[in-house]
Assembly symmetry: C2
Homo-oligomer: 276 residues x 2
């Protein structure tokens, strides 16, 4: 198959490298900044540098840009996509862009299937992309009404390049869960390192500090967009979290050992039950 | 030297194993539950099972119990300790117990030097202790007025069994920094996993979820004690954190992209500057 990857950052770049490592598909890389596309070609991460005009020969298109940029790209270039081709995004939010992409797919005769590869790093750009980024990770698919055979094709592609599991979901469920599993930790990490104590942590810190603060090394432009496009679920999860922190704060302020131990035990039990 | 380790849980057990791995010191293990001491002897983690009466021949004593239990143990057995021996604790809080242990040291003629090995796991007990637990970790020492030569002896012992650095501190500074580096992440982890979304995380989660939730697998009895014995600094850090989360929540609620991006960028810059 001819596979076009639009946007050669960490996500798109890793798709290219994983496809080249695991499959024989012909990989067309399309990127705004040409030096990056040249680098990708030089490294053998792609077979060909493409332009929007290359979309006519792609059987599958991966949009690997910021969420709204994916929509804008398709608005501009949707007519160039081959009829019946599968187009998927890789956005960390779904309600805000899937309906628009679905509509554009009907207009232009391609098949839209939403997806979100659950992997990343604290760094961005093609230079930190790697063939192993998706190894064992979850590949979330939001079919958005696409026929099963297209969902199957995309699932098989994902599994063929190292993903460990396929998770089917709706844009609504996806966004709510991502608010919890991904967005909340990013809010926490940034809030955490803002403490005046943070710069003095060395010598006083170990794994707990490292783990909570890790994702503070955030791409603030991307994550502002992700947060604001997912405001309602994120606010709901934040309110729940603040409430739960508040319960612990109250128990500490009241010096209530039993209440505090019970709250911590609640957390302990959830975590123990889930195993991970 | 004869080194007595009191309390063969993960901390004490790991001290035993690290001393046996790296040094020729004679290790005396003292533990309330005899089966654990037997197991330690059987595994070669200690050279001898001791009782409080063995304290008379120990040159260095490591107290590896819950904070208040360390004080209680010395109140009961301080008179059995050899004159001039070094006694150290391994408690995660310092203001609440160092002054008492210092006083007992003057009363009984031993030398108290506070310490806190910055390592641990989400599991407890001798069975998860290991010789490598302290590899590269920070060993915090609160001298509490002890002569430099005793601080040096303890530092050398720590470095000899794998610790990567010695951090000298006061009980006050220690407790404030630990509230931030260690206690706050534990509060966050427990609060985080209490969300009704948590049990459904599988397939939607990756590194961020794993890292923030890791220490929720908490020993609720130990950590309630640690939190309450360190109430003021912990409450201060919690208030700062809630304030900073609040700023982000406000920006999200107000749909204010610039404000939100600036806040995230603040976190990003702190983390980037610190490097870790």
């Amino acid at each position: 198959m001819n596979i076009a990857i639009i946007g050669l950052g960490i996500i798109g770049g890793s798709f290219c490298k994983a496809f080249k490592k695991h499959t024989d598909h012909h990989i067309i890389g399309i990127n705004r900044t040409q030096s990056v596309a040249n680098q990708a070609l030089l490294e053998g991460a792609i077979d060909e540098i493409g332009t929007a005009d290359s979309l006519g020969k792609a059987d599958v298109v991966f949009l690997c840009m910021y969420p709204q940029a994916c929509v804008d790209f398709i608005k501009e270039n949707g007519k160039k996509i081959k009829k019946g081709a599968i187009v998927t995004d890789s956005s960390g939010i779904k309600r805000a862009i899937c309906p628009q992409l679905k509509e554009l797919s009907l207009e232009h005769g391609f098949v839209f299937v939403g997806s979100h590869p659950m992997a990343g790093k604290e760094k961005n750009g093609f230079e930190v992309s790697e063939a192993e980024l998706y190894e064992g990770a979850s590949f979330i698919i939001t079919p958005c009404g696409a026929e099963q055979k297209y969902v199957d094709t995309l699932s098989e592609l994902a599994l063929s390049i190292g993903f460990g599991q396929i998770k089917l979901s709706t844009p609504e469920e996806h966004d709510r869960m991502i608010a919890f599993t991904s967005q909340l930790p990013h809010v926490l990490a940034c809030s955490y390192v803002m403490s005046p104590s943070c710069p003095n942590h060395k010598g006083f810190s170990a794994g707990s500090y490292r783990d909570v603060s890790r994702v503070a090394n955030i791409n603030s432009k991307l994550w502002s967009e992700l947060f604001l496009e997912n405001r309602e679920p994120l606010i709901e999860e934040l309110d729940i979290l603040l409430q739960n922190i508040g319960k612990i704060v109250d128990a500490v302020k009241q010096n209530d050992r039993d209440k505090l131990a019970n709250l911590l035990e609640e957390g302990h039990k959830v975590k123990q039950l889930l195993g991970e």
